[in-house]
């Protein structure tokens, strides 16, 4: 019985011809002597036989595909798609990093300024305010939905910019992320995250908050980068991105956010 247990774990490898010759002979001898093991081995062989059937089906299906023209078609489509994306970039190079936050800030400033001015005017003209008061009433749930929608939009933008930075980290051979310009971008992302924290404080955005927190941790590490950072340390950060599958998670969360209805 002890011998049976010892050989049991080798059966699959034995049937797959993956054992060294000596070991395989040893098992063959045991099988001749042990009817119990022989029966179990036959069952295992049956399973592998069924897999063989499926393998035959796979081969038959593969025979129906014109592989040569498939390769050509796929290559053409990939090149075509890439060409379209290159021809019409969403923003010119450098645009996103430098101007978008500034414009967003200005836009926000304008709105706040406008609201404040309106408030002041209404204070000075109480009769006007009183006349306008009953005309606008917004349901509370609508406001909440708008807030969540805004939070989703800001999060998607944050994730997209983080994705570009992480891709640069993965590609970067000379530690360019330690350059002052890039460090400024990373600091900006950290500041932005603080603003995002308030928006992400909603149970519907828990998953997004989680991934944003992971990214923030990584950015904190990246913020410590110095030009003398060793290749090993840089590699450690890359591994952190790869092992946590950050890019995949970012994409999944982005897709989820894009698909969610407000």
């Amino acid at each position: 019985m002890k011998a049976c247990r010892k050989y049991k774990k080798e059966w699959v490898a034995y049937l797959s011809r993956e054992l060294p010759e000596k070991k395989a002979e040893e098992i063959s001898r045991h099988l001749q002597e042990c009817p119990l093991c022989r029966r179990e081995m036959e069952k295992t062989a049956q399973v592998l036989g069924l897999a063989g059937n499926f393998g035959e089906e796979l081969e038959r299906v593969m025979d129906t595909v014109d592989w040569e023209s498939l390769a050509e078609t796929i290559a053409s489509r990939a090149v075509e798609k890439n060409k379209k994306e290159v021809q019409a970039p969403a923003f010119p190079a450098g645009w996103q990093w430098r101007w978008q936050p500034l414009l967003a800030g200005m836009f926000l400033g304008l709105i706040l300024g406008g609201l404040l001015t309106l408030g002041l005017i209404n204070q000075r003209k109480p009769h006007l305010a009183a006349r306008q008061e009953p005309s606008v009433s917004v349901p509370e749930d609508l406001l909440e939905r708008v807030e969540v929608a805004l939070a989703r939009k800001s999060t998607i933008e944050y994730l997209e910019r983080s994705e570009y930075l992480l891709l640069e980290l993965l590609k970067d051979g000379q530690n360019r992320l330690a350059e002052p310009e890039k460090q400024a971008v990373i600091r900006q992302m950290l500041t932005e995250k603080k603003y995002l924290n308030v928006l992400l404080d909603d149970w519907r955005l828990m998953k997004a908050k989680n991934i944003c927190d992971q990214i923030e941790l990584l950015f904190l590490e990246l913020n410590q980068l110095s030009p003398e950072l060793s290749a090993a340390e840089l590699e450690k950060l890359r591994k952190m991105v790869e092992e946590n599958q950050l890019l995949l998670k970012i994409n999944l969360v982005k897709k989820e956010l894009q698909q969610s209805e407000v």
Binding site: L50, N53, E57, L58, E59, V61, I74, A78
Partner: protein, 190 residues
Amino acid sequence: MPSNHKPGCDEQMELLVDRVKNGDREAFVRIVAAYQQKVFVLAYSLLRDREDALDLVQEVFMRVYEKIGSYRSGENFQAWLMRIARNLSIDFLRRRKKSDSLSDINLDRAELAAEISDPISYQTNVLIHKALMSIPEKQRLVFILHHFEGLKYEEIARRLGIAGGTVKSLHFKAVQKLKKSLEPALGGGK
């Protein structure tokens, strides 16, 4: 069955990848031609639908082309590509799971024809596919690579970046689990 990866072709593949990075379409056709069948084996084993598997093959290579800039020279290209294939297959399965329950086998015209022409073989294949989908992903991957792509343990270990002993153990566990779920069909009982 697709041809196995030969140790000498790494350098050649690196050259092709460099050419693709410089926009050489022909080089990309050669890369697709070299790996499309391997990706198809994985896709068909998971989806058991010719058209879905072909869609997935296309999706994988579109992504490879898009991301080829992030491939680092010296890295195992095949492992890199198959990682993309694996991730996209998981996404594909999730999407499919949403649209219809995974346990329900879609009967399209081709499948009905197969069932009518050879009912026993058809049923057997449905069973093995269902059983295969019920085992853990890594065990399933090792099983597919060994039985449907014809790779030896050593080659699987290289491709997945794990030890040979781990491959052996994953294969053993996969077969044990398949045996358990197929027991009734194999004549059941001990």
